[in-house]
Symmetry: C2
Subunit: 434 residues, 2 copies
């Protein structure tokens, strides 16, 4: 079977066999299939999609391309949480400590910011001293002791995915549902997890702009998990406005601390508790989902989630005091206020624009090679539905260099939409796919 014939069949909308998909993934990984053929294949997949069988074969082949992280010697069920990425999305840093405090083992393999969305690793690295480059041995040891550890994607786990991702990024094939699904699931399933809770974001600030696409992605990932005998649940949640008030790495760590002390924004707390509850339920630390929700809430109220995060920061070399003394975090040097041009109701806050504005100031990266500035970001003063007077503050921009502030301010101003009447309330958790 020649590679060009496989491309042609995918181009013509035919289904490839499990062996054929494996041939492509392996050939690309070992260098025997050139990148230009894989690029054409990816564009054909972008156009024609993949069947459930194909996407599972793709995932399996990418898992098989690297080493698996064996966690079987650590007692207890292992449950991870993954978000498809949003603006102000710091739920991992809240849900994971809560679930771990409730007894679930949480091996968090996290990603970095790309484009207008943030990444858990970058947020953690805003904490002075925090090490995300644990060895697999350190990762295992910390999980055994603390039940929670944060680590970055390693070269050993699903290396094929790394190669595919870089090629997708250069060929306008990132936004393909089966390619996103197999990329996420191969990284997650290469680690010895028992279950996974997915947060599929939908809206202007997410990769998936429409709920029907988000649902398809969620169903595909749940299906991959099922065929691999892992329990997977996916929440589809709204990402039309930033989650919480803080956008930017150090600023988000502060909001995490507040939320774990039961003083966080309503929307952020709500989603974090729901994610933690499902981790607890799938980790069999509660008999029902309702019990799991109560347990998650309790872990906020009694401060045990907060203490768990401190414990883990300490274990990974960071200064746990940052959660109490925010001045120990990297601080911005300048603040710029954005005010309402007229009174009315906030009808929308375009999450993508807010994310882009934060990125312009240095909170995110345009290419994988860019550095980021942990101190900068945006704090919203209002959320959608609130009434504001003309001249009242909509948000504050925190910056360390004047260079891109003007551009960022204009972008943020465009993000706020005002109306004379209050907008219809929006559901935060839109669906559950399991």
């Amino acid at each position: 079977m020649r590679t060009v014939d496989l491309i042609q069949r995918k181009r013509d909308g035919e289904e490839l066999s499990v062996e054929e998909i494996a041939l492509l993934v392996n050939g690309y990984t070992d260098g025997s299939i050139p990148d230009y053929q894989v690029a054409a294949f990816l564009m054909a997949v972008y156009n024609n999609g993949m069947t459930d069988r194909e996407v599972s074969a793709m995932t399996d082949a990418m898992i098989a391309s690297g080493e698996s992280v064996d966690l079987s010697e650590i007692p207890g069920l292992k449950v991870d949480k993954h978000s498809t990425g949003g603006v102000g999305d710091k739920t991992s840093l809240i849900a994971a400590p809560i679930a771990a405090a409730a007894g679930v083992v949480v091996p968090m393999i996290s990603g970095r910011a790309l484009g207008h969305t943030g990444g858990t690793l970058d947020k953690l690295e805003a904490i002075p001293g925090f090490r995300t480059n644990l060895t697999i041995e350190e990762f295992r040891a910390q999980l055994a002791t603390h039940k929670l550890a944060f680590i970055g994607q390693t070269d050993e786990v699903a290396p094929a995915d790394g190669k595919f991702y870089a090629l997708r990024d250069a060929t306008a094939t990132v936004e393909s549902i089966p390619l996103i699904a197999s990329s996420i699931m191969s990284k997650k399933m290469a680690v010895g997890l028992d279950a996974i809770v997915l947060d599929v974001k939908v809206g202007s600030g997410a990769f998936m702009k429409r709920q029907v696409e988000a649902r398809k992605l969620a169903q595909m990932m749940v299906g991959i998990g099922r065929r691999l005998d892992r329990r997977v649940q996916a929440l589809i949640t709204d990402m039309n406005q930033p989650l919480g008030y803080a956008v930017g790495n150090a600023l988000e760590v502060m909001e995490v601390s507040q939320t774990l002390q039961n003083a966080g924004p309503t929307d952020l707390t709500r989603i974090s508790v729901e994610l933690a509850a499902r981790m607890i339920f799938l980790g069999k630390m509660a008999a029902s989902l309702d019990d799991a929700r109560k347990l998650a809430e309790q872990k906020i109220v009694d401060g045990s989630g907060y203490r768990k995060l401190k414990e883990v920061i300490q274990a990974q070399g960071g200064n746990p005091q940052v959660l109490d003394r925010f001045e120990l975090l990297p601080n911005a040097t300048g603040v710029r206020e954005i005010t309402a041009p007229r009174g009315g109701y906030v009808s929308a806050i375009d999450a993508e624009e807010v994310g882009r504005a934060a990125m312009m100031m240095g909170a995110g990266r345009t290419t994988k090679e860019d550095g980021i500035d942990p101190a900068v970001g945006i704090i919203l003063e209002v959320k959608v539905g609130q009434r504001v007077d003309a001249g009242s503050i909509l948000c504050r921009l925190y910056y360390t260099s004047e260079e891109h502030v003007e551009e960022a301010a204009e972008t943020v101003e465009d993000a706020f939409r005002m109306a004379a009447t209050p907008p219809d309330p929006r559901e935060l958790i839109l669906e559950v796919v399991s």
Copy 2:
């Protein structure tokens, strides 16, 4: 403007500007845009097509990538003929000498066989001594003296097309109408032609399987020509059964000789005369198309087309006697007869299958690097519509090695379909697009 954004816009069905298309073609040609990005772009074009403006921009950029062959010092109008490729399609070797004998200057830049379709250069090289690698200077000199010269694609003319074609071949993007149109027209328009006659083949033995696609390709090429101020006419002709009786390089040269001596197959003669007539008309050697047809027929009857081909064979180093003494051509060493399993009417002869069978015996090539055997091929004994008895000969396979004869024989047997009643007669020339 980043390349990935151009790919994305083409992926999403948007139109790229003339400058953007030029950027892509130039970037690929000079190596600044990597082949994997171009591969993704080509697959996006395969899916979403190109507008007339885009396809003209693509053609212009490919022409500009190389040198133009200036023929302005040769007196007379220059008219070329191009076929999109078929099985048994040797019309170039008939129409070109006829048109040249009628006074038209015919600079034939020809191609090689690929897949199941034959190539003019390979047929000519079946003639002992024939040189297709003339220099541009030799080409010009021969055109001035003999009005007809055959040459292969050179690296200097539209080199971008050569690069694009190789990439398309490896990425299953050959069969894209705008990519075919710009590829053909860039090669043709880089030579100082005044007009071009196109033979767009449609049917099982052609790249275009459906007439609607063939029409689209013809219209696109005529449009490109019009925007470049060249007169272009396209015939859409049937390629559901092989053209003439002979398939295979030396065998086809024999049939060319017979046809130029007014003893050729009806279908081959008919299309060759029509193509020659249009070359003569566009070359202004006749006042009307009807006059041009009469002139073309006369050039067969009086033997001047035949003498013109001999003259050109001699000029390009070949032995002109091969047209009279076929034993001077490479000869097969074995013959295998295929007989009718039962009596009835021949309802179809699948041209692609016949072409593939000839290729298996060595008449064609699977990859560009394969050599070909000029002696081998197939001679049909019957054509569609003929009545045959059980056991009568349908065709003969001429081979030089026993190796693939069995496989080829089975393929050819499958190509012949029989029916109890005669099939409806089929038009040979389906449409004219101009």
